[in-house]
């Protein structure tokens, strides 16, 4: 689009840069302030809220590490997100593989079955889900969350993976079949390596909302030792409600890992998270 930039230097271009710049500041400044405040004492937060911290002391972070459950919440969130994404990628890719690479009776019906799952807002079924998980002994249990997240993410995963799998040519598959390779080997050794980029995208698409979710843990987890990070922050906020430096440190710590991954992998993140909305 080089021709579009020919007019650089005129008033319109300047206005555009000012508008974009102001917006970038509005987006980034609060996050930077949150991070800076996490190094401050309460006194500094009151007396000089906008300045740099007097020292980059890690005292607030030490409080979190030593005195709160936040590290435990971290581990729980990692387990829940990791296992959910693993299961849903394996199971979702298997289903998508069947639907996209084979012609069989009922294919369209089953595709529609998965597609209709996209339109069901599971949070409105929270009451039956609660009773169901209670019966299965999965309330106050990380496994319960893993089941819910896997199930609610499957329709979108099948949808995304089917799209990618359909676009693969059938020559490779056919020649392997001629050579007598089993269907299982064709899938695992030939097709799956070709779709790993798609699996990364589907993985990010699902991992971010699962890591960030707070609604399902709010209802299904009660014990402090099983709380997830997003949910645990609410408890932590109640406990440290007047120690603002520690609160900011907790928020910064919770935001840090996902932000770092995002900055390193921004292209994949953006492609992944908008995957469901871009045809």
């Amino acid at each position: 689009m080089s021709t579009m930039n020919k007019k650089s230097g005129d008033l319109g271009t300047w206005l555009m840069h000012i508008f974009l710049g102001v917006n970038a500041v509005i987006m980034l400044y609060p996050i930077i302030m949150m991070a800076l405040s996490s190094f401050k004492t309460n006194k500094e937060i009151f007396s000089s809220p906008f300045s740099l911290p007097q020292s980059f002391s890690l005292d607030n972070f030490a409080v979190i590490w030593n005195e709160t459950n936040v590290p435990r919440y971290f581990i729980n969130s990692t387990i829940v997100t990791g296992l959910s994404v693993l299961v849903l990628l394996v199971v979702g890719t298997m289903a998508a593989y069947a639907l996209s690479r084979y012609k069989f009776k009922g294919n369209i019906m089953i595709s529609l079955f998965f597609l209709s799952g996209l339109m069901l807002p599971l949070r409105l079924a929270i009451i039956p889900l609660f009773i169901q998980l209670k019966t299965l002994g999965l309330v106050d249990n990380l496994l319960g969350l893993i089941c819910i997240y896997t199930a609610m993410s499957l329709p979108a995963t099948v949808f995304i993976m089917t799209g990618f799998l359909r676009s693969l040519p059938s020559e490779l598959e056919d020649s392997a079949r001629m050579d007598g390779a089993s269907e299982f080997r064709i899938m695992v050794e030939i097709m799956v390596p070709l779709i790993t980029p798609a699996m990364v995208i589907a993985g990010i698409y699902n991992a971010v909302p699962i890591w960030n979710d707070f609604f399902f843990p709010l209802i299904f987890i009660q014990s402090p030792e099983w709380k997830t990070l997003a949910q645990g922050l609410t408890a932590f906020f109640g406990e440290y409600s007047i120690n603002y430096g520690v609160l900011y440190a907790g928020l910064t710590l919770a935001a840090l890992p996902i932000m770092l991954v995002f900055i390193v992998q921004s292209r994949r993140f953006i492609a992944g998270m908008t995957a469901g909305a871009i045809k």
């Binding site: 319109g12 974009l20 917006n23 069989f104 069901l120 089941c147 707070f214 996902i258 908008t274 909305a277």
Partner: protein, 318 residues
């Protein structure tokens, strides 16, 4: 002899066919079983539960539509329902204008690939990846009436009169939360719109520009109609998100939609009805399920109508 060969051949074909069926079943069964158990079964049960009387976790008698009647027409419930519903409507309209309007502007500007294009994309998208819990608490701290950064900033630039307890006044609380939501999510529609604009063939825009079309005409007559599918998706997602709005009001205003129910939402009302609260009394799964079914029907109907209508104005490039 020939017959013997035939049967082995047929057997082999039959065996292969069975093996294929088994293989397909193996591939499809786990996903379908999980989805049925944890999504379809509870969704269907919600409808089933709504026509029964409930005592805690125990199902009582069949009561027909009595629960629906209670949600819709009981004087007390009705007051809450209407208040929450119109708050959701306000959220939807405000987000369409503030969040999606800004996103469209940003996308149109970014589509010109200005200097710093990558940086802007990352900056606008950064809040999107963060949990609503982090965003909600962060802004609650920023909006603190005494030491919050927002009021301090206003005082520092001489607008001390504007400094107010943003989340404490019924007039400003909902607006503040909507702005926080817009700040959190604006990057998402921006990048969806941007991707849609990038799919428009560049020579089309170049040709129009060579013919002397103004930037405004290009945006209105070429880009806007051709990005219609992205607009459809964002409008429907905003609609669903607005009527499921829960996290931000829960964290910033609490379960009772403080102050004075000015930030009460259908999602909060549903939670209170189902699991009990000060205003809604004891947990009631019957009326809770009825409310859930009504919200679902409403969202489903309107998003279907909106999708139909918006899709009908989409144009295809042939």
């Amino acid at each position: 002899m020939a017959q013997a060969i035939d049967t082995t051949y047929e057997n082999a074909v039959a065996r292969r066919r069975n093996l294929r069926k088994l293989w397909l079943a193996f591939l499809l069964f786990p996903a379908m079983a999980i989805l049925l158990t944890f999504v379809f079964l509870p969704m269907a049960s919600a409808v089933w539960y709504s026509v029964y009387d409930w005592d805690g976790l125990v199902r009582g008698e069949f009561v027909g539509l009595a629960n629906f009647q209670e949600v819709l027409f009981d004087a007390r419930n009705n007051k809450f329902l209407i208040n929450a519903f119109f708050n959701n409507v306000k959220v939807f309209i405000a987000l369409m204008i503030v969040q999606n309007g800004l996103a469209l502007t940003l996308a149109l500007l970014l589509a010109r690939e200005p200097k710093g294009y990558r940086f802007y994309q990352i900056a606008f998208f950064l809040p999107v990846i963060l949990s609503t819990v982090i965003i909600g608490f962060q802004w609650k701290l920023f909006l603190n009436p005494i030491f919050g950064l927002v009021n301090t900033l206003l005082r520092n630039v001489g607008l001390g009169d504007w400094a107010m307890p943003w989340l404490g006044l019924p007039e400003t609380a909902l607006g503040s939360m909507i702005l926080v939501n817009a700040w959190h999510w604006v990057g998402f529609p921006t990048l969806v719109f941007l991707a849609a604009i990038h799919r428009i063939p560049k020579d089309l825009i170049e040709a129009a520009r060579l013919d002397g079309a103004s930037e405004w005409m290009i945006a209105r007559d070429i880009i806007w109609p051709l990005m219609a599918p992205a607009v459809t998706i964002i409008v429907v997602l905003t609609f669903i998100g607005s009527f499921n709005w829960f996290e931000i009001p829960y964290i910033m205003g609490g379960l009772e939609g403080a102050p004075a129910y000015s930030t009460d939402m259908l999602g909060l009302l549903f939670y209170r009805t189902a699991f009990g609260s000060v205003s809604a009394g004891n947990s009631d799964f019957g009326t809770g399920s009825a409310l859930a079914v009504l919200i679902f029907i409403f969202i489903f109907t309107f998003s279907t109508i909106a999708t139909r209508y918006l899709t009908s104005r989409e144009v295809e490039l042939s």
